[in-house]
């Protein structure tokens, strides 16, 4: 049975990998906001694991950094 409290390991992994890839590509939060269509402050919270992000937005962010979503998990 999955735990009921705290962020999932997948949420934390996605945030860390997204941030690492974004920085490796020399993209700012503002750059990724532009390529993904999402707000930069929302993206910052996702990268920190503070948002339980839904799959459609995960896909937008993966597209925004030019990666497959599976490679950010």
């Amino acid at each position: 049975m999955a735990g009921k409290s705290g962020p999932s390991p997948a949420r934390l992994t996605f945030g860390k990998k997204l941030r690492a890839v974004r920085r490796a590509k020399d993209m700012t939060l503002e750059d990724l906001a532009e390529t993904s269509g999402l707000n930069w402050s929302y993206i910052s919270q996702v990268e920190s694991g503070h948002r339980n992000i839904a799959v459609d937005n995960m896909w937008k962010l993966a597209q925004g950094v030019g990666m497959e979503l599976k490679d950010l998990l």
Copy 2:
């Protein structure tokens, strides 16, 4: 820029793969509800791509079928 309407390809892929894996393991929706802690009718909607599921629940469902989340994307 990501599209603004309709379910993302990632949402549809996750639903299809989850259903395929669940069935390959001879698990019913009720079985997966028990192993994931989520409601069976919600899981059915996720498998059909009708829910923009969040990462923590995706993780619970992957755990519930004994897979890594990345392998369902």
